[in-house]
């Protein structure tokens, strides 16, 4: 994982250059696939084609750099941090760099998911190689001009110098550089020489955001476009029986009403007319499959936990034997609710389906998959579809699913008009793809003062933990360890929600460890440090977390938070590894008339090299506050299949007065960077629950905590 300096890659594997007709040099590259031998980047900028190259760097003859990157911004800062990697190795001043969002090639773009936590980790080496290769070509061109060896030349912020004291700006050699061979070996910088990576860089769209420029999907318009508001079944398990659109059609501005499947779209000249038209529709619905309620889900999941139908995801030693021989066995059941994503920008999408092409525009994280689905749904060839991604008003997992784009395409196809489907907040919350309700039962055995066994059972709606999650801590630390899962298939749509599965699992486990430490009569921090000792020298390849790095964040957070020593506050601790990043957190709370108030959260994060500390800190703080909000307040319940909250007067998102100050500390090292959009969220609920226990003596095992604390529920 250490950054090595000398990198070889096969020539032409992913990069090509050309001289631009308008002056300057264009480097086209394809980050994740090789380009074909015979393709060349265009000489005319208006012809940028993202089929073979998914990104371009233009270096003008004034030495200014434009980076055309296809990743739009979702709120994780990748539109800024990924170009920083290129600019660093190209060795230019950040002030001379301009970032432009390129078109996305939906046909060849192999990284199907845009803008997630993984982008930076995956781009770390190839993006730097790209910058370093372009830099080397400029150096080679200057060296040839001077008749010196390239190895004698140095660069600094866009200027090449040699031992004789000659100087050339990048712009002065772009023409020659463009015609040179692409070098096979390039040297990457030693991290100590970074002058962009590690600096606070503002988000590249900041000027447009603070002046209200059209950036988001909801802001997109086209001539002749119809605004569409869609009536969907009001409850899961229902379908459309009949409807009456007479009143809807009389609403000023309404132009058409179109039934598609079990949904009805009202098309109008304005958003308001479409929404009003939808309210005027009369529809009757019939029950098609089971009408499920929250009480039913609770009963079903508890039934699964009490039963014996599990899939075993990991099994070390023999937990049954360990439990039978134990001096003491602890067991707790943890319960977590459904939650909607509640992106601040409601779901929306533009589609213009005509006989010769399908044009799609909007906020989506899975452009290639969605374009393919639209083509299949309409029986069209994928080559007829173009999809343009806009900036996204939040994602949190919701925009991985293209249901709203499919709706727009189908309505446009039927209406034969360009259409923009807009969800109202009510639609957005009620037609959710929710984080599913999950319950855990965790048991631990203690013998002779040692933690000898740990058995985790998960019962979830629709899906279970996946991949390496069963191998996260404490896997590897306890001799007898088992993870079992079971699930119930519901007709309520569920899906990924920021840090899927670990988002609630980490909090539950981190509360449970507090209980274990208490039962063992050992210090919570010592218990963790000792358990992590057991993991060192592991040869188990499934274990991806580093015990040393987890111990590092624990030590740091204990020091920075003054854990266990702060007066006047109750402190709760949690530590977790997920999304390749190691995090420890301490929550400080006070009690105000029986209501817990989180005053401060101290976070220690080991995410390797911090590319953009300013953006990174925003991500860490956002994850922590989001995690507190959802563990304290977030819940959507169902009654006969109908969601019981549909707007912010019946659903509580965390607001300013409920937010703590978050104090962030990054561990400094030279390890390749890992994601930050997700990993600080999962453990924080545990830290808060542990602090509340210290304050009240009550173990909170059911989220959202505020609804299970005998205090007035909060809305607003």
């Amino acid at each position: 994982m250490k950054t090595s300096n000398k990198i070889s890659f096969s020539r032409r594997s992913f990069l090509q250059t050309s001289a631009l007709a308008s002056g300057g040099m264009l480097v086209g590259f394809n980050l994740f696939t090789a380009c074909k031998e015979d393709v060349k980047p265009p000489v005319d900028l208006s012809l940028l084609d993202y089929n073979d190259f998914n990104a371009f760097i233009k270096i003008s003859d004034e030495g200014k750099v434009t980076i055309f990157a296809p990743n739009p911004e979702i709120g994780q800062g990748v539109k800024t941090s990924m170009p920083m990697l290129i600019a660093e190795e190209l060795d230019v001043a950040w002030e001379d760099v301009h970032v432009v969002q390129g078109k996305l090639d939906t046909k060849n773009y192999t990284r199907q998911v845009a803008g997630g936590s993984q982008s930076l980790r995956q781009g770390w080496t190839p993006l730097r190689q790209t910058g370093a290769t372009a830099r080397q070509m400029l150096v080679n061109a200057a060296a040839a001009k001077w008749g010196v060896s390239a190895s004698e030349c140095k660069t600094n912020k866009g200027v090449i110098t040699n031992a004789n004291g000659d100087k050339l700006g990048y712009g002065e050699v772009v023409k020659e550089a463009a015609s040179l061979e692409v070098p096979e070996d390039v040297t990457l910088k030693d991290p100590k020489d970074f002058h962009i990576i590690g600096q606070d860089i503002s988000n590249v769209d900041i000027d447009e955001i603070v002046t209200g420029k059209p950036l988001f999907g909801l802001d997109y318009k086209q001539e002749g476009m119809q605004y569409a508001s869609v009536l969907r079944p009001p409850a899961f398990g229902q379908k459309l029986e009949s409807f009456d659109d007479a009143n809807a059609r009389t609403v000023n501005g309404v132009n058409d009403v179109i039934k598609f499947g079990d949904k009805i779209a009202v098309l109008a000249n304005s958003t308001w007319a479409a929404m009003k038209g939808k309210k005027a529709l009369k529809a009757t619905w019939t029950q098609d499959s089971k009408a499920e309620s929250t009480a039913f889900h609770d009963e079903t999941l508890l039934g699964l936990l009490n039963g014996d139908k599990f899939d075993t995801r990991r099994k070390d030693g023999d937990v049954i034997k360990a439990f039978a021989e134990a001096d003491q066995v602890l067991e707790r059941t943890y319960e977590t609710p459904f939650v909607p994503h509640n992106c601040m920008e409601p779901m929306n999408f533009f589609a213009n389906v005509t006989t010769d092409k399908i044009e799609l525009v909007g906020p989506i994280q899975t452009p290639a998959g969605t374009a393919g689905q639209v083509a299949r749904m309409l029986g069209r060839d994928a080559s007829e579809v173009t999809l343009e991604m806009t900036r996204m008003g939040g994602g949190f997992g919701r925009r991985l699913y293209g249901d709203f784009a499919l709706e727009a395409a189908e309505v446009s196809h039927l209406a034969k008009k360009p259409v923009k489907v807009i969800f109202s907040r009510e639609d957005d919350m009620a037609a959710g793809i929710y984080r599913p309700a999950i319950k855990y039962r965790i048991a631990a055995s203690i013998k002779d003062g040692k933690l000898t066994g740990y058995h985790l059972k998960e019962a979830a709606i629709n899906g279970n933990m996946y991949g390496l999650i069963p191998n996260f801590f404490p896997a590897g630390a306890i001799e007898n360890y088992q993870v079992d899962t079971a699930n119930y298939k519901s007709n309520i749509t569920t899906g990924a929600w920021r840090a899927p599965y670990t988002n609630v699992l980490a909090s539950c486990e981190q509360s449970f460890f507090d209980e274990i430490a208490e039962a063992m009569g050992v210090d919570r921090i010592k218990l963790h440090m000792d358990l992590l000792e057991n993991v060192k020298r592991t040869t188990d390849e499934r274990i991806q977390y580093s015990p040393e790095r987890l111990q590092g964040v624990i030590k740091r957070v204990v020091k920075e938070s003054n854990y266990g020593k702060e007066k006047d506050v109750y402190q709760g601790f949690a530590v977790y590894y997920c999304h390749n990043t190691h995090v420890a957190e301490v929550a400080d709370i006070i009690m105000d008339n029986g209501v817990p108030v989180v005053k401060k959260v101290t976070v220690a994060v080991d995410c390797g090299i911090v590319v953009n500390p300013l953006g990174a800190k925003n991500q860490v703080v956002g994850g922590v506050i989001d995690g507190i909000g959802h563990s304290m307040y977030g819940e959507i319940t169902f009654n006969d299949g109908a969601p019981q909250s549909n707007n912010y007067d019946s659903y509580q998102l965390i607001r300013m007065l409920q937010t703590p100050q978050v104090d962030v500390h990054f561990i400094e090292n030279d390890i390749a960077p890992t994601g930050l959009g997700e990993p600080t969220l999962p453990p924080v609920g545990g830290a808060v629950a542990n602090a509340i226990y210290k304050a009240t003596g009550k173990r909170l095992t059911k989220m959202p905590y505020m609804n299970n604390m005998d205090v007035e529920p909060v809305v607003g």
Binding site: I206, G212, F216, W272, M344, E345, N647, R655, T659
Partner: protein
């Protein structure tokens, strides 16, 4: 459809709309002023905040009929060059994450600072409590309002 005369960012506009149309949709759909955002439509999130006669107002629950005769300012008109002290502070602190809620946050903060030029932390937190930020950029918002207050003095 009736016609309404609106005064927005110093210019007069005449728009055709039903009298019950929220100002929000008139701004966005009729006048292409899309900096004002839709978040909830029921005065709960603050994404649609504009100034009416200097007061922070939810445009999603203000009808076009009631907006007539008022001096309306939207994010597009808050300053000529995007250099209002609140916008400058937002840039200094690099507040936005996804950015969607931020024009509403800026409009709430700028109206608040007009009436209270040296607010305490608690006053800032209370003033901003009505604006939801789903990305939870609250710590940065709090700090940026403080920075903006200093710039305005």
């Amino acid at each position: 459809m009736p016609t309404f005369q609106l005064k927005i960012n110093g210019a007069s506009h005449s728009v055709e709309a039903d009298a019950d149309t929220p100002l929000l949709w008139v701004l966005r759909d009729n006048l292409d002023l899309v900096g004002t955002k839709y978040g909830c439509g029921i005065a709960q999130c603050g994404a649609c905040t504009v100034h009416m006669n200097g007061n922070a107002t939810r445009s999603c629950t203000t009808t076009v009929a009631n907006a007539q005769g008022m001096e309306i300012t939207t994010i597009e008109g808050l300053s000529e060059n995007g250099d209002h002290p609140v916008q400058e502070a937002w840039k200094d602190i690099d507040v936005p994450q996804c950015g969607y809620c931020q024009s509403g946050q800026i409009m709430t903060a700028s109206a608040f600072l007009e009436n209270n030029s040296s607010p305490s932390r608690e006053e800032i937190r209370s003033a901003m409590h009505g604006n939801i930020c789903r990305c939870a950029s609250y710590n940065s918002i709090e700090k940026a309002v403080e920075v903006a207050a200093k710039k305005m003095n």
